[in-house]
Protein backbone atom coordinates (compact mmCIF):
# COMPACT_ATOMS: atom_id res chain seq x y z
CA UNK A 1 0.00 0.00 0.00
CA UNK A 2 0.95 3.59 -0.51
CA UNK A 3 2.80 5.22 2.34
CA UNK A 4 1.38 8.60 1.46
CA UNK A 5 0.06 10.56 4.39
CA UNK A 6 -3.69 10.69 4.82
CA UNK A 7 -5.46 13.71 6.25
CA UNK A 8 -8.95 13.87 7.78
CA UNK A 9 -10.81 16.75 6.13
CA UNK A 10 -14.19 17.91 4.86
CA UNK A 11 -15.08 17.50 1.20
CA UNK A 12 -15.07 21.25 0.73
CA UNK A 13 -11.48 21.37 1.98
CA UNK A 14 -10.55 18.43 -0.25
CA UNK A 15 -11.94 20.35 -3.23
CA UNK A 16 -9.93 23.42 -2.18
CA UNK A 17 -6.72 21.45 -1.73
CA UNK A 18 -7.27 19.65 -5.02
CA UNK A 19 -7.55 23.01 -6.77
CA UNK A 20 -4.29 24.19 -5.21
CA UNK A 21 -2.55 20.95 -6.24
CA UNK A 22 -3.88 21.51 -9.76
CA UNK A 23 -2.02 24.82 -9.86
CA UNK A 24 -5.03 27.10 -9.59
CA UNK A 25 -3.83 30.70 -9.13
CA UNK A 26 -7.08 32.69 -9.21
CA UNK A 27 -10.17 32.20 -7.06
CA UNK A 28 -13.36 34.29 -7.22
CA UNK A 29 -16.45 33.60 -5.14
CA UNK A 30 -19.39 34.86 -3.14
CA UNK A 31 -20.55 33.35 0.18
CA UNK A 32 -23.31 30.74 0.11
CA UNK A 33 -23.97 27.67 2.25
CA UNK A 34 -23.00 24.77 2.02
CA UNK A 35 -19.73 25.68 0.25
CA UNK A 36 -18.40 28.45 2.51
CA UNK A 37 -15.47 26.35 3.72
CA UNK A 38 -13.97 26.68 0.24
CA UNK A 39 -13.59 30.49 0.08
CA UNK A 40 -12.70 30.56 3.77
CA UNK A 41 -9.87 28.07 3.21
CA UNK A 42 -8.63 29.67 0.00
CA UNK A 43 -8.76 33.23 1.33
CA UNK A 44 -5.42 32.54 2.99
CA UNK A 45 -4.12 29.40 1.25
CA UNK A 46 -4.38 30.67 -2.34
CA UNK A 47 -1.68 33.24 -1.65
CA UNK A 48 0.29 31.11 0.82
CA UNK A 49 0.49 27.95 -1.30
CA UNK A 50 0.25 29.10 -4.92
CA UNK A 51 1.12 32.80 -4.63
CA UNK A 52 -2.29 33.30 -6.23
CA UNK A 53 -5.19 35.72 -6.12
CA UNK A 54 -8.34 35.50 -4.00
CA UNK A 55 -11.23 37.88 -4.58
CA UNK A 56 -14.49 37.86 -2.65
CA UNK A 57 -16.74 39.14 -5.41
CA UNK A 58 -19.81 41.35 -5.00
CA UNK A 59 -22.05 38.62 -6.43
CA UNK A 60 -21.94 35.31 -8.26
CA UNK A 61 -22.55 37.28 -11.46
CA UNK A 62 -19.32 39.16 -10.86
CA UNK A 63 -17.43 36.06 -9.67
CA UNK A 64 -18.20 34.17 -12.87
CA UNK A 65 -17.19 37.16 -14.98
CA UNK A 66 -13.93 37.49 -13.05
CA UNK A 67 -13.39 33.83 -13.88
CA UNK A 68 -14.02 34.67 -17.54
CA UNK A 69 -11.44 37.47 -17.39
CA UNK A 70 -8.74 35.38 -15.70
CA UNK A 71 -9.44 32.54 -18.15
CA UNK A 72 -9.02 34.93 -21.09
CA UNK A 73 -5.60 35.68 -19.65
CA UNK A 74 -4.78 31.96 -19.72
CA UNK A 75 -4.73 31.54 -15.92
CA UNK A 76 -5.86 28.44 -14.03
CA UNK A 77 -8.89 29.98 -12.37
CA UNK A 78 -12.00 28.82 -10.54
CA UNK A 79 -15.16 29.83 -8.78
CA UNK A 80 -17.33 27.90 -6.35
CA UNK A 81 -20.93 28.31 -5.29
CA UNK A 82 -24.13 26.47 -4.53
CA UNK A 83 -27.32 26.20 -6.56
CA UNK A 84 -28.88 29.72 -6.43
CA UNK A 85 -25.44 31.23 -7.02
CA UNK A 86 -24.73 28.91 -9.93
CA UNK A 87 -27.98 30.03 -11.54
CA UNK A 88 -26.59 33.57 -11.49
CA UNK A 89 -23.40 32.45 -13.22
CA UNK A 90 -25.06 30.99 -16.27
CA UNK A 91 -24.69 33.99 -18.60
CA UNK A 92 -20.95 34.12 -18.03
CA UNK A 93 -20.60 30.34 -18.44
CA UNK A 94 -22.41 30.62 -21.78
CA UNK A 95 -20.01 33.39 -22.85
CA UNK A 96 -17.05 31.26 -21.77
CA UNK A 97 -18.33 28.30 -23.78
CA UNK A 98 -18.96 30.55 -26.79
CA UNK A 99 -15.54 32.19 -26.49
CA UNK A 100 -13.87 28.82 -25.73
CA UNK A 101 -12.39 29.79 -22.39
CA UNK A 102 -11.27 27.22 -19.80
CA UNK A 103 -12.37 27.54 -16.19
CA UNK A 104 -13.59 25.43 -13.29
CA UNK A 105 -16.93 26.01 -11.58
CA UNK A 106 -17.80 23.99 -8.47
CA UNK A 107 -21.46 23.62 -7.50
CA UNK A 108 -22.03 22.20 -4.01
CA UNK A 109 -25.64 21.40 -4.86
CA UNK A 110 -28.27 22.36 -2.26
CA UNK A 111 -32.04 21.99 -2.26
CA UNK A 112 -34.22 23.95 -4.64
CA UNK A 113 -36.14 25.37 -6.40
CA UNK A 114 -35.80 28.95 -5.23
CA UNK A 115 -34.04 29.34 -1.91
CA UNK A 116 -34.83 25.67 -1.21
CA UNK A 117 -32.79 24.59 1.78
CA UNK A 118 -29.12 24.16 2.63
CA UNK A 119 -29.32 20.36 2.66
CA UNK A 120 -28.10 18.04 -0.03
CA UNK A 121 -29.77 17.69 -3.42
CA UNK A 122 -29.08 16.54 -6.96
CA UNK A 123 -31.65 18.93 -8.38
CA UNK A 124 -29.10 20.76 -10.55
CA UNK A 125 -28.39 17.76 -12.81
CA UNK A 126 -30.31 19.23 -15.75
CA UNK A 127 -28.82 22.70 -15.32
CA UNK A 128 -25.32 21.19 -15.18
CA UNK A 129 -25.55 18.76 -18.06
CA UNK A 130 -27.65 20.75 -20.54
CA UNK A 131 -25.37 23.76 -20.66
CA UNK A 132 -27.39 25.72 -18.12
CA UNK A 133 -27.37 29.08 -19.86
CA UNK A 134 -28.49 30.27 -23.30
CA UNK A 135 -27.36 28.81 -26.59
CA UNK A 136 -26.20 25.40 -27.80
CA UNK A 137 -23.29 24.54 -25.58
CA UNK A 138 -22.13 21.97 -23.05
CA UNK A 139 -19.77 21.97 -20.13
CA UNK A 140 -17.89 18.91 -18.97
CA UNK A 141 -19.39 17.77 -15.65
CA UNK A 142 -17.60 15.70 -13.01
CA UNK A 143 -19.50 14.26 -10.05
CA UNK A 144 -17.50 13.38 -6.91
CA UNK A 145 -19.11 10.97 -4.44
CA UNK A 146 -16.31 10.95 -1.85
CA UNK A 147 -13.93 13.51 -0.40
CA UNK A 148 -11.02 11.83 -2.18
CA UNK A 149 -12.86 12.15 -5.47
CA UNK A 150 -13.46 15.82 -4.64
CA UNK A 151 -9.68 16.23 -4.47
CA UNK A 152 -8.88 14.11 -7.52
CA UNK A 153 -11.58 15.57 -9.72
CA UNK A 154 -10.36 19.13 -9.20
CA UNK A 155 -7.02 18.12 -10.69
CA UNK A 156 -8.81 16.40 -13.55
CA UNK A 157 -11.19 19.36 -14.03
CA UNK A 158 -8.40 21.85 -14.65
CA UNK A 159 -6.71 19.51 -17.08
CA UNK A 160 -9.92 18.93 -19.04
CA UNK A 161 -10.75 22.65 -19.06
CA UNK A 162 -7.49 23.46 -20.81
CA UNK A 163 -7.49 20.35 -22.98
CA UNK A 164 -10.84 21.35 -24.48
CA UNK A 165 -10.77 25.13 -23.85
CA UNK A 166 -14.14 24.76 -22.19
CA UNK A 167 -15.74 25.43 -18.80
CA UNK A 168 -15.77 22.38 -16.53
CA UNK A 169 -18.33 21.94 -13.79
CA UNK A 170 -17.69 19.92 -10.67
CA UNK A 171 -21.13 18.97 -9.40
CA UNK A 172 -20.73 18.04 -5.75
CA UNK A 173 -23.49 18.25 -3.17
CA UNK A 174 -23.96 19.19 0.47
CA UNK A 175 -23.16 15.64 1.63
CA UNK A 176 -19.83 15.51 -0.22
CA UNK A 177 -19.02 19.10 0.78
CA UNK A 178 -19.82 18.77 4.47
CA UNK A 179 -18.73 15.24 5.43
CA UNK A 180 -15.25 14.48 6.75
CA UNK A 181 -13.19 11.58 5.45
CA UNK A 182 -9.57 10.56 5.17
CA UNK A 183 -8.07 11.97 1.97
CA UNK A 184 -4.67 11.22 0.48
CA UNK A 185 -3.37 14.41 -1.12
CA UNK A 186 -1.11 14.02 -4.14
CA UNK A 187 0.74 16.34 -6.45
CA UNK A 188 0.10 15.95 -10.17
CA UNK A 189 2.85 16.39 -12.72
CA UNK A 190 3.46 19.99 -13.76
CA UNK A 191 0.24 21.57 -15.01
CA UNK A 192 -0.27 21.23 -18.76
CA UNK A 193 -2.15 24.19 -20.16
CA UNK A 194 -2.32 22.56 -23.60
CA UNK A 195 -0.83 25.54 -25.43
CA UNK A 196 -2.82 28.31 -23.71
CA UNK A 197 0.05 30.68 -24.49
CA UNK A 198 -0.99 30.41 -28.14
CA UNK A 199 -4.50 31.80 -27.65
CA UNK A 200 -4.67 33.71 -24.37
CA UNK A 201 -4.45 37.49 -24.23
CA UNK A 202 -1.29 38.73 -22.56
CA UNK A 203 -0.21 41.66 -24.73
CA UNK A 204 0.48 41.54 -28.48
CA UNK A 205 4.23 42.06 -28.26
CA UNK A 206 5.85 40.64 -31.41
CA UNK A 207 2.70 38.91 -32.61
CA UNK A 208 -0.72 39.60 -34.13
CA UNK A 209 -3.33 40.90 -31.69
CA UNK A 210 -5.76 38.32 -30.30
CA UNK A 211 -9.47 38.55 -29.79
CA UNK A 212 -11.59 36.38 -27.51
CA UNK A 213 -15.29 36.75 -28.21
CA UNK A 214 -18.57 34.97 -28.66
CA UNK A 215 -20.16 37.44 -31.10
CA UNK A 216 -20.20 36.14 -34.66
CA UNK A 217 -22.20 38.46 -36.90
CA UNK A 218 -20.65 37.90 -40.32
CA UNK A 219 -22.60 35.73 -42.75
CA UNK A 220 -22.19 32.07 -41.80
CA UNK A 221 -19.78 32.81 -38.95
CA UNK A 222 -22.02 31.72 -36.09
CA UNK A 223 -23.06 28.55 -37.90
CA UNK A 224 -19.37 27.78 -38.34
CA UNK A 225 -18.63 28.41 -34.68
CA UNK A 226 -21.53 26.18 -33.64
CA UNK A 227 -20.27 23.39 -35.88
CA UNK A 228 -16.82 23.84 -34.39
CA UNK A 229 -18.26 23.60 -30.85
CA UNK A 230 -20.34 20.55 -31.70
CA UNK A 231 -17.33 18.68 -33.04
CA UNK A 232 -15.48 19.56 -29.84
CA UNK A 233 -18.34 18.13 -27.76
CA UNK A 234 -18.18 15.02 -29.93
CA UNK A 235 -14.47 14.67 -29.12
CA UNK A 236 -15.24 15.10 -25.41
CA UNK A 237 -17.30 11.90 -25.43
CA UNK A 238 -14.01 9.99 -25.03
CA UNK A 239 -13.80 11.32 -21.46
CA UNK A 240 -16.92 9.48 -20.22
CA UNK A 241 -16.20 7.42 -17.10
CA UNK A 242 -18.18 5.36 -14.61
CA UNK A 243 -17.55 3.26 -11.54
CA UNK A 244 -18.99 -0.17 -12.42
CA UNK A 245 -19.65 -2.29 -9.32
CA UNK A 246 -20.84 -5.94 -9.17
CA UNK A 247 -22.54 -5.78 -12.55
CA UNK A 248 -21.20 -8.99 -14.16
CA UNK A 249 -23.96 -11.35 -13.00
CA UNK A 250 -26.43 -8.67 -11.92
CA UNK A 251 -30.04 -8.88 -13.06
CA UNK A 252 -30.81 -5.36 -11.93
CA UNK A 253 -28.31 -2.52 -12.40
CA UNK A 254 -28.85 0.54 -10.25
CA UNK A 255 -27.60 3.81 -11.73
CA UNK A 256 -26.82 6.55 -9.21
CA UNK A 257 -24.25 9.38 -9.08
CA UNK A 258 -22.39 11.49 -6.52
CA UNK A 259 -23.12 11.02 -2.82
CA UNK A 260 -26.28 9.03 -3.63
CA UNK A 261 -24.20 6.64 -5.73
CA UNK A 262 -21.98 6.20 -2.71
CA UNK A 263 -24.91 5.50 -0.38
CA UNK A 264 -26.52 3.11 -2.87
CA UNK A 265 -23.21 1.24 -3.05
CA UNK A 266 -23.65 0.36 0.63
CA UNK A 267 -27.17 -0.86 -0.10
CA UNK A 268 -25.92 -2.96 -3.01
CA UNK A 269 -23.15 -4.48 -0.84
CA UNK A 270 -25.68 -5.48 1.77
CA UNK A 271 -28.03 -7.02 -0.82
CA UNK A 272 -25.09 -8.88 -2.37
CA UNK A 273 -24.27 -10.36 1.04
CA UNK A 274 -27.82 -11.70 1.00
CA UNK A 275 -27.22 -13.23 -2.45
CA UNK A 276 -29.28 -10.72 -4.43
CA UNK A 277 -28.09 -10.21 -8.00
CA UNK A 278 -27.82 -6.44 -8.06
CA UNK A 279 -25.06 -4.15 -9.34
CA UNK A 280 -24.32 -0.45 -9.54
CA UNK A 281 -23.14 1.94 -12.23
CA UNK A 282 -22.00 5.23 -10.74
CA UNK A 283 -21.33 7.80 -13.49
CA UNK A 284 -18.22 9.84 -12.63
CA UNK A 285 -18.71 12.13 -15.60
CA UNK A 286 -22.26 13.38 -16.10
CA UNK A 287 -21.37 15.13 -19.35
CA UNK A 288 -20.19 13.28 -21.31
CA UNK A 289 -22.54 10.63 -19.96
CA UNK A 290 -21.14 7.06 -19.83
CA UNK A 291 -23.77 5.81 -22.27
CA UNK A 292 -21.59 3.06 -23.75
CA UNK A 293 -21.19 1.36 -20.37
CA UNK A 294 -24.96 1.27 -19.88
CA UNK A 295 -25.66 0.24 -23.44
CA UNK A 296 -23.27 -2.71 -23.17
CA UNK A 297 -25.03 -3.82 -19.99
CA UNK A 298 -28.42 -3.41 -21.69
CA UNK A 299 -27.24 -5.66 -24.50
CA UNK A 300 -26.53 -8.33 -21.86
CA UNK A 301 -30.22 -8.20 -20.93
CA UNK A 302 -29.93 -6.32 -17.65
CA UNK A 303 -32.76 -4.26 -16.20
CA UNK A 304 -32.15 -0.75 -14.82
CA UNK A 305 -33.24 1.33 -11.85
CA UNK A 306 -32.08 4.93 -11.61
CA UNK A 307 -31.92 6.45 -8.13
CA UNK A 308 -31.41 10.17 -7.61
CA UNK A 309 -31.96 12.78 -4.93
CA UNK A 310 -34.29 14.74 -7.17
CA UNK A 311 -37.55 14.17 -8.98
CA UNK A 312 -36.08 12.41 -12.02
CA UNK A 313 -33.36 14.02 -14.14
CA UNK A 314 -30.44 11.68 -14.88
CA UNK A 315 -32.99 8.94 -15.58
CA UNK A 316 -33.58 10.68 -18.93
CA UNK A 317 -29.93 10.09 -19.87
CA UNK A 318 -30.07 6.47 -18.71
CA UNK A 319 -33.14 5.88 -20.88
CA UNK A 320 -31.48 7.59 -23.86
CA UNK A 321 -28.40 5.43 -23.36
CA UNK A 322 -30.29 2.12 -23.48
CA UNK A 323 -33.05 3.18 -25.87
CA UNK A 324 -34.24 0.52 -28.25
CA UNK A 325 -32.91 -2.24 -25.97
CA UNK A 326 -34.08 -1.57 -22.45
CA UNK A 327 -35.70 1.00 -20.18
CA UNK A 328 -35.05 2.34 -16.69
CA UNK A 329 -37.30 2.52 -13.65
CA UNK A 330 -36.87 5.52 -11.36
CA UNK A 331 -36.75 6.05 -7.63
CA UNK A 332 -36.46 9.62 -6.44
CA UNK A 333 -35.47 10.60 -2.92
CA UNK A 334 -36.92 14.06 -2.33
CA UNK A 335 -34.42 16.87 -1.83
CA UNK A 336 -34.90 18.21 1.66
CA UNK A 337 -34.58 14.77 3.26
CA UNK A 338 -31.22 13.14 4.06
CA UNK A 339 -31.17 9.52 2.86
CA UNK A 340 -29.44 6.52 4.45
CA UNK A 341 -28.56 3.22 2.77
CA UNK A 342 -31.66 1.57 4.32
CA UNK A 343 -33.90 3.97 2.42
CA UNK A 344 -32.93 2.29 -0.85
CA UNK A 345 -33.45 -1.36 0.24
CA UNK A 346 -37.18 -1.50 -0.46
CA UNK A 347 -37.15 0.17 -3.90
CA UNK A 348 -34.26 -2.01 -5.09
CA UNK A 349 -35.85 -5.22 -3.79
CA UNK A 350 -39.19 -4.23 -5.35
CA UNK A 351 -37.63 -3.78 -8.78
CA UNK A 352 -35.44 -6.90 -8.41
CA UNK A 353 -38.54 -8.95 -7.83
CA UNK A 354 -40.67 -7.22 -10.48
Amino acid sequence: MSEKKRIFIKGNEAISRGALAAGCTCYFGYPITPQNDIPEFLSTEMAAVNNGEFVQAESEVAAANMLLGAAAGGARAMTTSSSPGVSLMQEAISYMAGSELPGVIVNVNRGGPGLGDIGSSQGDYFQSTRGGGHGDYRTLVLAPGTCQEGYDMMIEAFDLAFKYRNPVLVLADAIVGQMKEPVTPWEPKAADNHGAEDWCIDGAKGREKRLLKSLFLEDGALAGQNRNLQSKYEAMQAEARADVFECDDAELVVVAFGSIGRIVKSTVRRLRSEGKKVGLVRPLTLYPFPSEVLRDLAKQGKRFLTIEQNCGQMVDDVRLSVRGIADSEFHGHMPGDLPGSDDFLAPIIKHLED
Partner: protein, 252 residues
Amino acid sequence: MSEKLVFDAPEIMIDRPTHYCPGCHHGVAHRLVGEVLTEMGLVDDTLCVGSIGCSVFIYNYLDVDAVEAPHGRAPAVATGLKRAHKDKFVFTYQGDGDLASIGLAEIVHAANRGEKISVVFVNNTVYGMTGGQMAPTTLVGQKATTCPDGRCAEEHGQAIRMSEIIGGLGGTAYCERVSLDSVKNIRRAKKALRKAFEMQVNGTGFGFVEMLSACPTNWKMDPIAANTRIKEEMIPYFPLGVFKDVTKDGEE
Protein backbone atom coordinates in the same frame (compact mmCIF):
# COMPACT_ATOMS: atom_id res chain seq x y z
CA MET B 1 4.44 63.34 -54.84
CA SER B 2 3.54 66.87 -53.97
CA GLU B 3 1.03 65.68 -51.37
CA LYS B 4 2.17 66.21 -47.82
CA LEU B 5 0.73 64.26 -44.92
CA VAL B 6 -0.15 66.78 -42.25
CA PHE B 7 -2.28 64.64 -39.91
CA ASP B 8 -2.18 60.91 -39.39
CA ALA B 9 -3.55 58.30 -37.04
CA PRO B 10 -1.26 56.41 -34.70
CA GLU B 11 -0.40 52.88 -35.84
CA ILE B 12 -2.64 51.37 -33.16
CA MET B 13 -5.71 52.69 -35.02
CA ILE B 14 -6.81 50.12 -37.60
CA ASP B 15 -7.51 51.81 -40.93
CA ARG B 16 -10.97 50.65 -41.94
CA PRO B 17 -14.42 52.12 -42.63
CA THR B 18 -16.23 52.94 -39.40
CA HIS B 19 -19.56 51.34 -38.48
CA TYR B 20 -20.44 54.30 -36.26
CA CYS B 21 -23.06 56.81 -37.40
CA PRO B 22 -21.96 60.21 -38.72
CA GLY B 23 -21.25 62.51 -35.79
CA CYS B 24 -21.05 59.67 -33.27
CA HIS B 25 -18.47 60.34 -30.58
CA HIS B 26 -17.41 56.71 -30.07
CA GLY B 27 -14.89 57.18 -32.89
CA VAL B 28 -13.43 60.23 -31.17
CA ALA B 29 -13.21 58.38 -27.87
CA HIS B 30 -11.49 55.40 -29.56
CA ARG B 31 -8.99 57.71 -31.15
CA LEU B 32 -8.16 59.40 -27.85
CA VAL B 33 -7.61 56.01 -26.22
CA GLY B 34 -5.38 54.98 -29.14
CA GLU B 35 -3.33 58.17 -28.97
CA VAL B 36 -2.77 57.95 -25.22
CA LEU B 37 -1.83 54.25 -25.33
CA THR B 38 0.63 55.02 -28.12
CA GLU B 39 2.16 58.05 -26.39
CA MET B 40 2.55 56.08 -23.16
CA GLY B 41 4.20 53.17 -24.98
CA LEU B 42 1.52 50.74 -23.79
CA VAL B 43 0.26 49.26 -27.06
CA ASP B 44 1.98 45.88 -26.71
CA ASP B 45 1.02 45.56 -23.06
CA THR B 46 -2.63 46.50 -23.36
CA LEU B 47 -5.58 44.19 -22.73
CA CYS B 48 -8.88 45.74 -23.79
CA VAL B 49 -12.14 44.60 -22.18
CA GLY B 50 -14.98 45.51 -24.53
CA SER B 51 -18.59 45.82 -23.46
CA ILE B 52 -22.03 45.47 -25.02
CA GLY B 53 -23.34 48.52 -26.84
CA CYS B 54 -22.46 50.26 -30.09
CA SER B 55 -18.81 50.01 -29.06
CA VAL B 56 -18.86 46.20 -28.90
CA PHE B 57 -16.69 46.38 -32.06
CA ILE B 58 -13.94 48.45 -30.43
CA TYR B 59 -11.61 45.55 -31.27
CA ASN B 60 -12.08 46.34 -34.96
CA TYR B 61 -10.47 49.75 -34.46
CA LEU B 62 -7.72 49.25 -31.87
CA ASP B 63 -4.82 46.94 -32.64
CA VAL B 64 -4.52 45.42 -29.15
CA ASP B 65 -5.44 42.14 -27.44
CA ALA B 66 -9.11 42.14 -26.47
CA VAL B 67 -11.85 40.13 -24.79
CA GLU B 68 -15.59 40.68 -25.01
CA ALA B 69 -17.44 40.95 -21.68
CA PRO B 70 -21.14 40.27 -21.13
CA HIS B 71 -23.41 43.34 -20.82
CA GLY B 72 -22.33 45.37 -17.79
CA ARG B 73 -19.70 42.94 -16.56
CA ALA B 74 -16.56 44.48 -18.05
CA PRO B 75 -15.21 45.67 -14.67
CA ALA B 76 -15.51 42.12 -13.28
CA VAL B 77 -13.87 40.63 -16.38
CA ALA B 78 -11.13 43.27 -16.11
CA THR B 79 -10.67 42.38 -12.42
CA GLY B 80 -10.03 38.73 -13.31
CA LEU B 81 -7.76 39.64 -16.19
CA LYS B 82 -5.72 42.15 -14.19
CA ARG B 83 -5.34 39.70 -11.30
CA ALA B 84 -4.00 37.16 -13.80
CA HIS B 85 -1.69 39.70 -15.49
CA LYS B 86 -0.63 42.32 -12.97
CA ASP B 87 2.07 43.70 -15.25
CA LYS B 88 -0.28 44.41 -18.17
CA PHE B 89 -2.41 47.47 -18.83
CA VAL B 90 -6.11 46.58 -18.57
CA PHE B 91 -8.93 48.95 -19.49
CA THR B 92 -12.68 48.68 -20.01
CA TYR B 93 -14.68 50.74 -22.49
CA GLN B 94 -18.37 50.99 -21.56
CA GLY B 95 -21.55 52.83 -22.46
CA ASP B 96 -24.00 54.35 -19.99
CA GLY B 97 -26.59 51.59 -20.24
CA ASP B 98 -23.84 49.03 -19.77
CA LEU B 99 -22.08 50.73 -16.87
CA ALA B 100 -24.78 52.71 -15.05
CA SER B 101 -27.70 50.30 -15.31
CA ILE B 102 -27.09 46.56 -15.67
CA GLY B 103 -23.46 46.83 -14.60
CA LEU B 104 -23.85 49.20 -11.67
CA ALA B 105 -22.74 46.66 -9.08
CA GLU B 106 -19.65 45.65 -11.03
CA ILE B 107 -18.38 49.19 -11.62
CA VAL B 108 -19.02 50.33 -8.04
CA HIS B 109 -17.29 47.32 -6.51
CA ALA B 110 -14.33 47.30 -8.89
CA ALA B 111 -13.78 50.96 -8.00
CA ASN B 112 -14.34 50.36 -4.32
CA ARG B 113 -11.83 47.51 -4.28
CA GLY B 114 -9.37 49.84 -5.94
CA GLU B 115 -8.72 47.44 -8.81
CA LYS B 116 -5.74 48.67 -10.78
CA ILE B 117 -7.67 49.08 -14.00
CA SER B 118 -8.85 52.05 -16.08
CA VAL B 119 -12.42 52.69 -17.19
CA VAL B 120 -13.49 54.71 -20.21
CA PHE B 121 -17.16 55.55 -19.74
CA VAL B 122 -19.00 56.93 -22.77
CA ASN B 123 -22.19 58.64 -21.59
CA ASN B 124 -24.56 59.48 -24.45
CA THR B 125 -27.71 59.46 -22.27
CA VAL B 126 -29.33 56.70 -24.29
CA TYR B 127 -29.21 53.01 -25.18
CA GLY B 128 -27.60 53.53 -28.57
CA MET B 129 -27.20 50.02 -29.91
CA THR B 130 -30.70 48.79 -29.14
CA GLY B 131 -32.31 51.80 -30.78
CA GLY B 132 -32.63 54.68 -28.38
CA GLN B 133 -34.41 53.45 -25.27
CA MET B 134 -34.30 55.36 -21.99
CA ALA B 135 -31.00 54.94 -20.13
CA PRO B 136 -30.28 55.57 -16.44
CA THR B 137 -28.53 58.72 -17.67
CA THR B 138 -31.40 60.03 -19.82
CA LEU B 139 -32.17 63.59 -18.70
CA VAL B 140 -35.57 64.52 -17.32
CA GLY B 141 -37.62 65.72 -20.27
CA GLN B 142 -35.45 63.94 -22.83
CA LYS B 143 -37.42 61.80 -25.26
CA ALA B 144 -36.46 58.17 -25.81
CA THR B 145 -38.26 55.27 -27.47
CA THR B 146 -39.45 53.90 -24.12
CA CYS B 147 -40.39 57.35 -22.81
CA PRO B 148 -41.73 59.04 -25.94
CA ASP B 149 -43.19 61.92 -23.93
CA GLY B 150 -39.86 62.55 -22.27
CA ARG B 151 -38.36 61.20 -19.06
CA CYS B 152 -40.55 61.98 -16.11
CA ALA B 153 -38.84 62.35 -12.72
CA GLU B 154 -41.82 61.05 -10.74
CA GLU B 155 -42.20 57.91 -12.82
CA HIS B 156 -38.66 57.16 -14.02
CA GLY B 157 -36.43 58.90 -11.53
CA GLN B 158 -33.68 61.29 -12.52
CA ALA B 159 -30.47 60.75 -14.45
CA ILE B 160 -27.70 59.05 -12.50
CA ARG B 161 -24.49 61.01 -12.13
CA MET B 162 -21.82 58.32 -12.19
CA SER B 163 -18.68 60.40 -11.69
CA GLU B 164 -20.12 61.79 -8.46
CA ILE B 165 -20.69 58.21 -7.23
CA ILE B 166 -17.35 56.78 -8.37
CA GLY B 167 -15.46 59.85 -7.14
CA GLY B 168 -16.94 59.29 -3.70
CA LEU B 169 -15.57 55.77 -3.29
CA GLY B 170 -12.51 55.03 -1.19
CA GLY B 171 -10.86 52.80 -3.79
CA THR B 172 -10.97 55.34 -6.63
CA ALA B 173 -7.63 56.96 -7.43
CA TYR B 174 -8.74 59.23 -10.25
CA CYS B 175 -12.17 60.27 -11.50
CA GLU B 176 -12.97 63.00 -13.99
CA ARG B 177 -15.89 63.96 -16.21
CA VAL B 178 -15.01 65.43 -19.61
CA SER B 179 -16.92 66.17 -22.79
CA LEU B 180 -16.30 65.51 -26.47
CA ASP B 181 -18.37 68.41 -27.81
CA SER B 182 -15.57 70.83 -28.68
CA VAL B 183 -11.89 70.88 -29.57
CA LYS B 184 -11.04 72.42 -26.23
CA ASN B 185 -12.98 69.77 -24.34
CA ILE B 186 -11.50 66.95 -26.44
CA ARG B 187 -8.01 68.16 -25.51
CA ARG B 188 -9.04 68.15 -21.86
CA ALA B 189 -10.48 64.64 -22.31
CA LYS B 190 -7.16 63.36 -23.59
CA LYS B 191 -5.35 64.79 -20.58
CA ALA B 192 -7.86 63.12 -18.28
CA LEU B 193 -7.35 59.76 -19.98
CA ARG B 194 -3.62 60.08 -19.62
CA LYS B 195 -3.97 60.91 -15.94
CA ALA B 196 -6.24 57.91 -15.32
CA PHE B 197 -4.01 55.56 -17.31
CA GLU B 198 -0.91 56.74 -15.45
CA MET B 199 -2.61 55.87 -12.17
CA GLN B 200 -2.78 52.26 -13.31
CA VAL B 201 0.73 52.15 -14.74
CA ASN B 202 2.36 53.51 -11.61
CA GLY B 203 0.27 51.26 -9.38
CA THR B 204 -1.77 54.02 -7.71
CA GLY B 205 -5.08 52.43 -8.58
CA PHE B 206 -8.48 52.71 -10.20
CA GLY B 207 -9.00 55.39 -12.87
CA PHE B 208 -12.36 56.50 -14.28
CA VAL B 209 -13.04 58.95 -17.11
CA GLU B 210 -16.63 59.79 -18.04
CA MET B 211 -16.99 61.29 -21.51
CA LEU B 212 -20.17 63.18 -22.35
CA SER B 213 -20.81 62.04 -25.91
CA ALA B 214 -23.22 62.49 -28.78
CA CYS B 215 -25.57 59.93 -30.27
CA PRO B 216 -27.01 62.05 -33.09
CA THR B 217 -28.98 59.12 -34.49
CA ASN B 218 -31.04 58.39 -31.43
CA TRP B 219 -31.23 62.04 -30.39
CA LYS B 220 -32.61 62.65 -33.89
CA MET B 221 -30.27 65.59 -34.41
CA ASP B 222 -27.56 66.51 -36.84
CA PRO B 223 -24.03 66.32 -35.43
CA ILE B 224 -23.77 70.07 -34.84
CA ALA B 225 -27.08 70.25 -32.98
CA ALA B 226 -25.91 67.22 -30.96
CA ASN B 227 -22.77 69.07 -29.89
CA THR B 228 -24.90 72.03 -28.91
CA ARG B 229 -27.13 69.76 -26.83
CA ILE B 230 -24.12 68.47 -24.91
CA LYS B 231 -23.08 72.03 -24.12
CA GLU B 232 -26.50 73.43 -23.28
CA GLU B 233 -28.32 70.50 -21.72
CA MET B 234 -25.87 67.84 -20.59
CA ILE B 235 -22.98 69.84 -19.11
CA PRO B 236 -25.26 71.88 -16.82
CA TYR B 237 -26.62 68.63 -15.32
CA PHE B 238 -23.38 66.62 -15.58
CA PRO B 239 -20.76 69.17 -14.51
CA LEU B 240 -17.28 68.69 -15.95
CA GLY B 241 -14.32 68.37 -13.64
CA VAL B 242 -12.17 66.19 -11.43
CA PHE B 243 -14.14 64.34 -8.77
CA LYS B 244 -11.19 62.58 -7.23
CA ASP B 245 -7.44 62.69 -7.58
CA VAL B 246 -5.49 60.93 -4.86
CA THR B 247 -2.26 62.50 -6.05
CA LYS B 248 -3.58 65.93 -5.03
CA ASP B 249 -3.71 66.98 -1.41
CA GLY B 250 -7.28 67.00 -0.23
CA GLU B 251 -10.10 65.86 -2.45
CA GLU B 252 -12.08 68.14 -4.71
